[in-house]
């Protein structure tokens, strides 16, 4: 049986390091605050464009923000 694969999101850690609120990050990447909330909770997988935009804003590589197990 194939094991269930999961994406772990470390966005909250890097967002706080940058000193950004969820609302500010959402506005900077062009999404709603609810989307950022769900991203951080691991309940939503972003598109490639959104992942790149987030990576550029928090200045952390994508593979460190979103870890694919």
């Amino acid at each position: 049986m194939r094991p269930i694969q999961k994406i772990t999101c470390n966005l909250k850690k890097y967002r706080l390091e940058k000193g950004l609120t969820q609302e500010e990050l959402a506005q900077l990447v062009g999404v709603r605050r609810e989307t950022i909330i769900r991203l951080e909770a691991g309940k939503y997988n972003p598109s490639l464009k959104l992942a790149i935009d987030i990576s550029r804003v928090v200045e952390v590589p994508i593979e460190e923000i979103f870890i694919y197990d």
Partner: protein, 125 residues
């Protein structure tokens, strides 16, 4: 830091009150008074109740998650019209299936599809 200009797409406020047209659906009960089969089409106006959920999201920004949730809801509710059409087609040959029953199934299938889509969309979002 790159500044992204966010355009908030705003749907006009009247859409929040369109769900009230759903009450026109109760006109369908006129069939029991007049016996006119076409009166049963009024039940399709129940589909306007879907705007209750759509109106709740009227002021939301349409980001990628918004569109993804819309697609998910459409995918799930697409089964309803398929089942409705199949039911009508399959049973239309039987004598106990009257034109009133077919009209009723069409109208309620239509309303059920739109209300289910709107509810699921709102639930996912």
């Amino acid at each position: 830091m790159e500044v992204v200009i966010v355009m908030k797409i705003r749907i006009q406020k009247p859409i929040k009150y369109l769900w009230l047209l759903g009450f026109l659906g109760f006109q369908g009960f006129k069939y029991f008074k007049t016996g006119e089969p076409l009166a049963l089409f009024w039940f399709s106006y129940f589909s306007f109740f879907a705007y209750y959920f759509i109106g709740k999201m009227a002021d939301e920004m349409q980001d990628e998650r918004y569109f993804e949730n819309s697609q998910r809801a459409k995918l799930k509710t697409a089964k309803i019209p398929l089942i409705t059409l199949f039911t009508i087609g399959f049973f239309s040959g039987f004598s106990f299936v009257t034109k009133e029953l077919i009209i009723l199934i069409c109208a309620l299938g239509w309303a059920g599809t739109l209300i289910s889509y709107a509810y699921l969309f709102w639930y996912y979002d």
